[in-house]
Symmetry: C2
Subunit: 271 residues, 2 copies
């Protein structure tokens, strides 16, 4: 199926080396970043997506200090990661500098100054190459957040959803590190999702799916969360809520109850 | 926004006194009932919608004997209600006999013989008129399930989403009765949802929203559940699961964990 969004205004339409980039105003959803015709995030519900992507992993880790973000050009993933007071360093690696420039200019509501945070380092390069170097120098990220375009999209992104890529990611993580991967829709694109899930499972001990409805996507977005040390299924809603409060996280969508609820819809398949 | 569904086959396209009725085969979703251009339920995920509609209310009630269904022409709501072994009588009232005939002929996977169950009574008449008579004769339904087209749709349905209608419904219920109402999307059509919620709240003590993603709808469908005696928010996942098992319910989607999870997404608003 396809979704039709009434476009109220075209703020930008351009093309980088990697993709077509649009900033549109969509009726009902406001300002929206669209890459290769697919909605990445809209003003009205980007907080749902970004909070659901970032916080389960960072809450699961007792004290995340070093965070790596692959993709996340809008800067909202960076914004959410930096909310955790224990974070000393957040490295964001996006291959497409044009997207980052577009975000800086057109999407201030997304990054909200995150790019200027002294703890943030933004690198424009291929995430695969970054992860390879990081694994070789024995980097020790406590959390890795993969916020890439969908696994059934471009070849550049596809390479980061492989067993080999997750193995490199793991080598660049601390022993108690937590990985989270945005992985499209496990219901509508079950095959692609399952390939990602298997590739992660080949590398980590505790691996789970969780899902959140992002209205502008028209579907529940699926995530894969993984760690050798921390078991996401054992994190109770009460404990999650306690950590949210303890860390002073100011969230608009996520709370302990919703964190647990997002786990319950894993494995929803058609027919 | 609008959703485009590739149509593989048109099995039926007709018009009743009340609405345009289509039975289509949609790519990815299979055979699908469409009324006035809006998807009512598809072969691949009608179980998600119908289990989420029926069972929270019937599980919340300790021993539902008499059930009233308003709408539900496909017969799948009836099918789910009849799964509860305590149910002695299930009255289904649909205004549109053509929809029921179409369901009998084209949608056997939906009703699965429910129309022939000796406990079922199917009436073709205006639900509002039925409820008015039932309230006058002091009927005592333990559960009322309102499975109508959306509150922002036809005038015929709209009349059943009013404070007056819910007051009549309540008068036709037993003291411990439970009401559940399909109420569109509280996120995408917040105003219409809130009007329904307020109208129910004017009549019942314990009133809650819960939501489930129905892939073919492209959104989370919202429900309002209400009772003077039973507090849905107090029903734990463990107790719900215990009742599911005790009653021998064979479900494909719902379990105790998901029942609780459906409550957690209430109140999701854009922006």
């Amino acid at each position: 199926m396809g979704v039709l969004y009434p476009v109220e205004e075209v703020l930008l339409r351009t093309r980088s080396r990697y993709q077509e980039i649009e900033v549109l105003v969509l009726r009902g959803f406001g300002k929206t970043l669209v890459l290769d015709g697919l909605i990445q995030s809209s003003e009205k519900d980007e907080h749902v997506y970004h909070e659901a992507l970032v916080h389960p992993a960072l809450i699961l880790h007792p004290e995340p200090r070093r965070v790596l973000i692959l993709g996340g050009g809008e800067g909202a993933t960076l914004r959410e990661a930096l909310k955790h007071p224990s974070v000393e360093k957040a490295v964001m690696v996006d291959i497409d500098g044009v997207v980052v420039d577009v975000a800086k200019r057109y999407l201030p509501e997304w990054h909200q100054g995150a790019f200027d945070d002294p703890r943030a380092e933004v690198l424009i390069m291929d995430g695969f190459e970054y992860v390879r170097s990081a694994s070789m120098r024995g980097d020790a990220f406590d959390a890795v957040i993969m916020d890439l375009t969908d696994p059934y999209g471009s070849e550049v992104a596809a390479r980061l959803y492989t067993r080999e890529a997750f193995s490199l990611v793991k080598s660049a993580m601390s022993a108690g590190g937590v990985l989270v991967v945005q992985a499209g829709s496990s219901t509508l694109f079950a095959e692609a999702f399952e390939a990602v899930y298997r590739a992660v499972s080949a590398n980590f001990k505790h691996v789970y799916e969780y899902d959140v409805w992002v209205p502008s996507f028209s579907y529940m977005n699926s995530f894969v969360i993984a760690s050798d040390s921390y078991d996401f299924a054992s994190l109770t809603g009460g404990e999650a809520q306690r950590r949210i409060e303890e860390r002073g996280l100011r969230l608009r969508f996520l709370n302990g109850e919703r964190l647990v609820a997002m786990r319950a819809f894993a494995g929803l398949r058609l027919g």
